[in-house]
């Protein structure tokens, strides 16, 4: 498990750069992670990110896009607008979670 330094702190990440330790994340770090992939975080982004974090804490899994629309109440289109092209992966990266495992 590589350890890297981002925003002045040591972080555990996987080979691609996704955080692997739930508790190493906070909102400040989210801004840095988002900037890394060219996203300027707004309140709309943060609502989604917080849903991901809460759902992960509750279920132990990163929610899939389908779960974000179903359980989180976010429209698919909104997610594609906020996190263009690869919403599921971009969202989990910014939320400091691993990629979702489910197919749908």
């Amino acid at each position: 498990m590589p350890v890297t330094t981002l925003a002045g702190r040591d972080l555990h990440v996987d080979e691609e750069g996704f955080l692997t330790e739930y508790d190493e994340w906070d909102e400040e770090l989210a801004k840095v992670l988002a900037a890394n992939i060219g996203i300027d975080l707004t309140d709309a982004h943060m609502r989604v990110i917080h849903f991901l974090r809460d759902d992960y804490r509750a279920t132990g899994q990163t929610p899939t896009l389908r779960r974000c629309t179903n359980a989180g109440g976010f429209a698919t289109k909104e997610l594609f607008d906020l996190f263009p092209k690869k919403p599921a992966k971009k969202m989990s990266y910014i939320a400091g979670l691993t990629k979702p495992v489910g197919c749908v």
Binding site: P2, N36, K86, Y93, C103, V104
Partner: protein, 171 residues
Amino acid sequence: MTELLTKTPPIPSFDDEAETQRKLCLICSKGSLDMAYPGLILANAALGEGVETHIFFTFWGFDIINKKTMNNLKFTAVGNPATHMPNMVMGLPGMTAVATHMMKKQIEGIDVPEVPEFLDLITGAGGHLWACRMSADMMHLGKDDLYDGVEGIINASEFIELSEGAQVIFV
């Protein structure tokens, strides 16, 4: 656990040039419940990866986008040895309903949407749906009979034009 200290944090490459130019065309030619899903799941996954995605519905695949049948696709175990059920039994009256009910419950159990909702998901994610001209003519169906997200009824040549440079998967 050996810990490797990397100076530069790895950043996932989400917008790799080559990947964003990828294009996928799926041909859905079957109308049974079990054969509707592979195309829809792949389309949805491709869209989630930023791949331009088109689905062409032809012949029995029309049942997936026909407003009259899309809510009511069926599954039969007859002639499908992978179900490991005797054909004689599965061919009895009412068994298709039983098999369909069981499959729908399994699909719902893993939080995968029913067909119409799946189409909503795909069009919401920017996927393109096309209906086959010949099938529409054969079945006497017009655009109004089809799922609202279907962009048009196109012929085989138009599909060939549309799929230029795309990876094509026939289901």
